[in-house]
Symmetry: C2
Subunit: 398 residues, 2 copies
Amino acid sequence: MISEHFKNMLGQKSVIRSMNAKAFEQGEKIGHENIFNFSLGNPSVPAPACVNETMVKLIGETDPMQLHGYSESHGILEVRAAVAAYLEKTYHLPYKADHVFMASGAAGALAHAFRAVVCPGEEIITFAPYFPEYGPYVHETGAILRVVPADTESFQINFEAFEEILNEKTAAILINSPNNPSGIVYSTATIQKLADILYAAQKKFGHEIYIISDEPYREIVFTGVDAPCISSFYDNTLMCYSFSKSISLPGERIGYVAVNPACKDAELIIHMCTQISRGIGHNCPASLIQLTVAEVLGQTADLSVYEKNSDILYRELTRMGFSIVKPGGTFYMFPKAPIEDAGEFCNKALEYGLVIVPGDSFACKGYFRIAYCVPTETVERSIPQFEKLAAFYGLGGK
Amino acid sequence: MISEHFKNMLGQKSVIRSMNAKAFEQGEKIGHENIFNFSLGNPSVPAPACVNETMVKLIGETDPMQLHGYSESHGILEVRAAVAAYLEKTYHLPYKADHVFMASGAAGALAHAFRAVVCPGEEIITFAPYFPEYGPYVHETGAILRVVPADTESFQINFEAFEEILNEKTAAILINSPNNPSGIVYSTATIQKLADILYAAQKKFGHEIYIISDEPYREIVFTGVDAPCISSFYDNTLMCYSFSKSISLPGERIGYVAVNPACKDAELIIHMCTQISRGIGHNCPASLIQLTVAEVLGQTADLSVYEKNSDILYRELTRMGFSIVKPGGTFYMFPKAPIEDAGEFCNKALEYGLVIVPGDSFACKGYFRIAYCVPTETVERSIPQFEKLAAFYGLGGK
């Protein structure tokens, strides 16, 4: 029988998608050039030239049987070794190929991490605000996603609420720093405290508790921001990475799970990932794409535009009277809406051509997300519109 | 907690993998040049030149933001439209883009098809001999895989046994023609009879029953063989395709689900696939690979080697006294072992350097699989070894 479960999911409209549909309607009215689309987390700068150069080189120089041939379900050994060497050099942890599993983007990486270390019925704790896809990602594993309310002062971790939710059924903590949607990077103090609490909880409950660290924005960190490597603070960490954001390859769907070498059963977890793949129909990433990223590790797109955009928006919007925790990275910020209903606020913003997303979908009501992965010129042109919006709500800015 | 379920799966050794480990040991003893590896279903001919040419062209001519950018989770619209147009032209069914979902290879395609039209607790019927991965593929969906014993006379369908197993819980029939491991292609008569039975069963049980048709070998059909398009015979058919075998791109992990336009809720099923992706961490195939296959639809690698190898092996092995149903396609054949225990037979074969796989893993005891996707020269050199093996078992050949 057709699955009612997945059929019903179709009925749950994505807020981002419906904002975009409304934005299109508004564009028809006021001219599409007057629409400032800050709704999508899609890189706005191209991949660096080395990506295409590497691809063309590989195609020209590699035997097609090898280039396009089957790889192990872990991923290509040389690629895993290259990723491990890069991580070792960068984070000073003794990663080897056996700690790395190549996955189809962050979604693929997370799907394996969840299933490897969390059993159906166990709990995964995450922190608001969080990427809404975590809901369906976790639901399908049979585990339960529990959400710690946001610390809206700093968008670091609300530890008091966290310790109330942490319990013997907790199998993993899912974190995302630099964070979508807040743009905040967890500080050394935050990560240290999280690790301390988890080490104590492991002792208290007598079982492992894992950190599953979703790090697609790892390299998008602004000048001077404290951005600790999470795996360095806690042994039982599974790092889930994607090449989508920092090197602008979202369509090529490539990422990895890297298990901290000090994690209990680290190599076993990587081997288990291959078994998990069989059940969920995962195929390791396309071989050409694997071989390509192995040669450009550590390279990024020109990420400076994101910091520039962030600076402009933060400066201008705070001047206007918006309350914002200053982003430390990513291409998002998460200001407080001047009214309680962020949905209503975002609808109003659309009248001024501003496409922004209410925080409700990120489990944080009363806030809104600006995705400023757009040309700086778009940001600059949008400022007068934000100004009008602020004026409409009588914000006390200058 | 670490998943005992996936941990235990690691303990279940793959027969093919263990045959390969033994083959390596044997190679160390008798020289690796004297090992004839017929264990792996890996294409032995390179992708046609048009694949690399298209890739290089796309890289050179496409804006990198578009080339490497996010695609819809269904797959790139133009690619889906191209696949639909190709299917329409080839099979004369009115496929449109809305009937096509791009997936990461056949495993990805099947993972979506199962979840779309089969609910947990319902049954999927397949026919022995069958690809052993169907076990874990189906298990993880919560559905139950039921197996119809082989018709070893023809490796077509054992309809008597099928009709006994068909029941009101049957949600889908999983077929694979051309077949791994038998090499047999289901005839028009077989497909027509299957369709007739299923139309009657739908009426009797009052619900849809789907055919999930796993077709990675669709283009590898030998001269003069009747190879009907399954979707043409039965409306509720989900075709699952992979570009791995016929165009030799196994590492690039690309395929699709094409729902027969006449299938009940055809477009809905494709949209449901995008929801299924969210739960299993599927990402649609890499954009460069999608764009590439869209331009080379209908092209294949030089598949003639497989028919040539098949002819030699069939002729020589039947001459020696082996009993074989003549393959109609793929790069497999599935002869009867001269003793009851095919595992023991395959171990003996290894002493002669012949790496073949016992049929037990394909749910068909007493048979063995030869994967002849190897250079013809390897096939020719292996004949004297098969001869010795036949002599050892006193087969009555000439």
